[in-house]
Symmetry: C2
Subunit: 321 residues, 2 copies
Amino acid sequence: MAPQQPIRILVTTPIPPDILAEAVALSPRVLILKEEDLKEKPSLTGEIEIVYGGLVPEQWSLARNLKWNQVPGAGMNGLLTPEVVAHPAVITNAHMHARAISEHLFGMLLMLTRGLHIAYRQQLTRKWDSSSFTHGGLATLPGKTLGILGLGAVGSCAAQMGAALGMRVVGLDRDRAEVPDVETVYGPQRKDEMLAQGDYIMVTLPLTSETRRFVSRREFEVMKPGALLFNVGRGGTIDTDAMVAALESGRLGGAGLDVVDPQPLPPDHPLWTMPNVIISPYCAGKYPDYDAACGRIFLENLRRYLAGEPLLNVVDKKAGY
Amino acid sequence: MAPQQPIRILVTTPIPPDILAEAVALSPRVLILKEEDLKEKPSLTGEIEIVYGGLVPEQWSLARNLKWNQVPGAGMNGLLTPEVVAHPAVITNAHMHARAISEHLFGMLLMLTRGLHIAYRQQLTRKWDSSSFTHGGLATLPGKTLGILGLGAVGSCAAQMGAALGMRVVGLDRDRAEVPDVETVYGPQRKDEMLAQGDYIMVTLPLTSETRRFVSRREFEVMKPGALLFNVGRGGTIDTDAMVAALESGRLGGAGLDVVDPQPLPPDHPLWTMPNVIISPYCAGKYPDYDAACGRIFLENLRRYLAGEPLLNVVDKKAGY
């Protein structure tokens, strides 16, 4: 047999030992490198074929043999520099936190519709007072309309959960025309039509040049009065000042935000203290088995890579997601 | 035609004018009385045939002609005095808040599983810190087991929602052997077997002599370590001291309580400040259209009463619910 070249895999992200062992067992050619190995011998960067995790910008120019980078998350903004876009390496991402993020969305939604944020504020001052719970937001979900901007892994999962909870679901997506549980998928040019229907609007968009400030002053004007808005994509897809104005005027009934712009939110920002706003610090995708779930995606893609099969979750580097 | 006696209906609970008008239009015999009418002429109490709302204890002994009392809620404890139980009048209740209460349950559940109570505590101090969100509670719901104590209107609705969210549902009920979406319905004598399975336990029990302190020290010992407990029935079904001890030891992972014992919770009670406890002040059943939804139940029952048909939601006065 002809001697076979090793496949050098740089791992820069946490991976459970059993999954790493499975990766090594997939082929005798697999050779795992850690960041320490590169520090000792920087020239190794030019021999890396696969990265599980990420490279810093100066490494990309040196990684001439890089074929594939499995990123341990979903969002690409910041990573896709012109150099990375021009590099022939394939980038794949990981969507396994779609369910966690969707549950986070519905947790924020139910907090607002059930007034649990009011209850918790009262709890922290040891106050038992049910008279605060008479506002119109206490509506139940069946029959309400959920509008989802972006029907990728997270948006599709949120659509499934929304339908399961008895809601009518409409959505907006650039690429998809039909998504399970979504009654109508609107294209970006029909944004207003879609926004006008939602009692609750969930934003799961990636941040690209097309989606920056996708929800801005004009969009708040076409939304249903009193609608609730949620964002778990990237803060920059919403015009923060316009959102604050819509909340202040009551045009927007409330918001649940896991991402904001600017992020982290500065201590003196008005969003912190608005009565119907819930802010979580970019933690919607967290769950205890994240490293294992992400490692499993890498493992499956490595198996495909070695077998010459198409990889899962290939990122369109030009589109940005 | 023989002259017909008026049917005197005392209304003591808010009812939208259009629904009251529909009630009056059901029969020319219907005669609506308000509490003011009784104050002017107390002897009228003996002529009341129907009450929508409630009578105070001293009125029950005078209401010799009362045939039916439609109560505008679900819980009976406090109302069913020996005199009321002995009175021949039928009591019906209203369960139309089952969906609101179920959504409240899942709002509290998702707050705890997504760490939104932690996020909200941080928000109130304007703190952006995602490092707090690594605890084991962040698990997603599919594949988890939901155990529901009491499968009446609320418990059945919660079962449907739990199944729709991907959970396996088991339950406990005294009267029902099969409930949609519930894999196994255990009888009260198999309480331990049922409790041992639940990642999340929801209590929707009425308070009766049989259910008082139904969840007590021994029950916390058989639960899964780290289980989350929710109560939207009556506070007295859980032994509060045993629950506080289980929370302190970490045996119980957290709790979401819309009812407590004692209620209202005194300002110095340890439950207020426990880190994984969410307390709402008996507001789970509130929603904006409550009066209308309840009025519709009364209207349908009045139609049935006038037509001689069986009433909906007849309370078993001896069983207590």
